[in-house]
Symmetry: C2
Subunit: 345 residues, 2 copies
């Protein structure tokens, strides 16, 4: 705990507010820490790589949304040692993952991410380039969505904690893709890889970042864990193409489908053929001597979009199951062998 005298007075960091304090500008070098340069210089590092004309006041004012739009918001915390390790992830990857987790939640409503806010609590000995790297990852992933980092907060803490809040717009009159929109007779569809992030984590746990010789081709699994990817706009496309319920595969496929099934008061039967672990997963499982189905069914953190529709699977989506009357989730009509997903405590 800090000396209580350090608690003095509030923090409200408006990044461009601080950027304007030009008299205090200093050059930051690679060995300097947050404590060395102070918050203003650190924030300038962030805003220099993740710049936005919207960032610059007590709060960010977003551009007018299209007519008939609604605002969508999601927030997510990442704690060092729990959601990432600096030994396993580069700062850029941490920034990318932080953005993707939140933007996937916005996409899962059928909405378009437009802005992100970043709040970092970090120890004083955190290297400035580390924070800059996080901002670079955020800027890079945000740019694919035409979204910007529009504000944030930076404060001292004994533990590194990163919070992203994503804001998006949901245009037009179609309903949002909520969890309760699945109906019997529909098919379950998915866009993106399933089980790759969990496989990557298992590889990291065994080998760290150094895959054994001859197994370097498994690197995409590690990448899927450290910096997952979701094709921008898939949620918007799904909504336009008739998807009625959607979530993202964050806690584990069976758990996320169960959540959707419970909300919609339906049963889902997933197709084991469609979910058959890919070759890369099987190779990783062989190397680690484990069952790739565990990654597919209970892995999560892929941020794959999973939805239901009575129409054709939208472009980029594939059928992975069917919705029927009843409750719960089965795999090929039977209880899945792996069901457990993430629980925080």
């Amino acid at each position: 705990m800090d000396n209580p005298s350090e608690m003095k007075i509030a923090v409200r960091l408006n990044w461009d507010v601080i950027r304007a304090h030009s008299i205090e500008r200093k050059l930051v070098n690679l060995t300097q820490t947050l404590a060395d340069v102070g918050e203003r210089a650190a924030i300038r590092e962030i805003t220099s790589v993740a710049s936005s004309g919207l960032n610059g006041d007590d709060a960010a004012v977003l551009p007018s949304a299209p007519p008939n739009s609604r605002t969508v918001a999601a927030t997510d915390l990442m704690v060092e040692g729990r959601h990432f390790l600096r030994e396993w992830s580069t700062p850029r990857e941490i920034g990318k993952k932080a953005i993707l987790r939140n933007f996937a939640d916005v996409e899962a409503m059928g909405a378009r991410p437009v802005a992100a806010l970043l709040a970092i609590a970090a120890p004083g000995d955190t290297p400035v380039p580390f924070v800059r790297g996080i901002a670079e990852g955020i800027a890079e992933h945000s740019s694919f969505y035409n979204a910007e980092l529009v504000g944030g907060d930076l404060t001292k803490s004994d533990l590194l904690v990163i919070n992203i809040t994503a804001v998006g717009f949901l245009g037009g009159s179609l309903p949002a893709l909520t969890l309760d929109g699945a109906r019997a007779g529909q098919q379950v569809v998915a866009h993106g890889k399933i089980g790759h992030s969990a496989a990557g984590l298992a590889l990291l746990e065994r080998f760290g970042r150094n895959l054994p010789a001859g197994h370097e081709h498994l690197q995409p699994l590690i990448d899927a864990h450290c910096a997952p990817w979701l094709n921008p706009g898939r949620g918007v496309i799904a909504r336009a193409a008739g998807v009625t319920a959607m979530t993202d595969n964050s806690d584990g496929l069976i758990q996320d489908c169960t959540t959707m099934a419970e909300h919609s008061c339906v049963h889902m039967d997933l197709d084991p053929q469609a979910l058959q672990p890919e070759e890369l997963l099987c190779q990783a499982a062989d190397l680690l001597d484990c069952d790739p189905w565990e990654w597919v069914l209970s892995g999560g953190e892929d941020h794959t979009l999973i939805g239901t529709t009575a129409k054709e699977a939208p472009s980029g989506f594939r059928k992975i199951g069917t919705v029927t009357r009843g409750c719960g989730v089965t795999l090929g009509g039977t209880t899945p062998s792996y069901q457990k997903g993430w629980l925080s405590f």
Copy 2:
């Protein structure tokens, strides 16, 4: 650091998603911790006291804004031991303060707060009633703004960190109350108390929560620190009444005015008569043998709104200075004796 095996898989907590898992509902008693009940029951505690029909999916979809509205967003972290101490603040007060800090930033744009997202990182031994208390404080303060807690995240951490993101709407065609809108010839106006939060902190540092006999009437100062208050809607009123620039007194009056003056390329001269420390501040300063001007000029964390206008001071605002050509901030024409405000590192 947690066991890396606990890092498995992602966290994406959508509170009403979890609320729907009715099969796992348990009664929470006063001695239980987050580790005892698990995240779902803890989140049910939060959503039971800070309920919202908007909370319940991957992301929150806010109601349609009035025509011609823009969305405004601000975020702010509070770290235990740095921004609050459990010995000094009740959970309700911590919740109130977390909301107020963010809503003040939205009001300082002339906008109306409509929603908040709460992300908590907390140790497993955190009592559930503590988290419930934070939610109660959030719900209470939000209700004054007709705003709701619409989503959030809860995760395990060695350190208690609370992040609030506020979302607001800025209606109509008038510009937002940015920091760069002050013009020479205007007056500086303020709504709310100045220096009270810093005085309250000084009292807490000396006496904790137990004011010495005969000084109990200083309690409002402690309250101003632990749970500051801002009359809802003052920012909206100020914008309608012709205020052109605004911020809130969060880092310290001189520092916040300096930020506004720099952004607007003007000079501000504050009026020592108008800022004369109130009787309560003088009594606290006598008790602590210190100078109440330090609290007024460099205290901050009051979240008082400070603006500039060429018109009459809006209802509830008072004149505290004038804007002239030049740069910097003076007090009665001279350099203020206290200028330093909050810096994080």
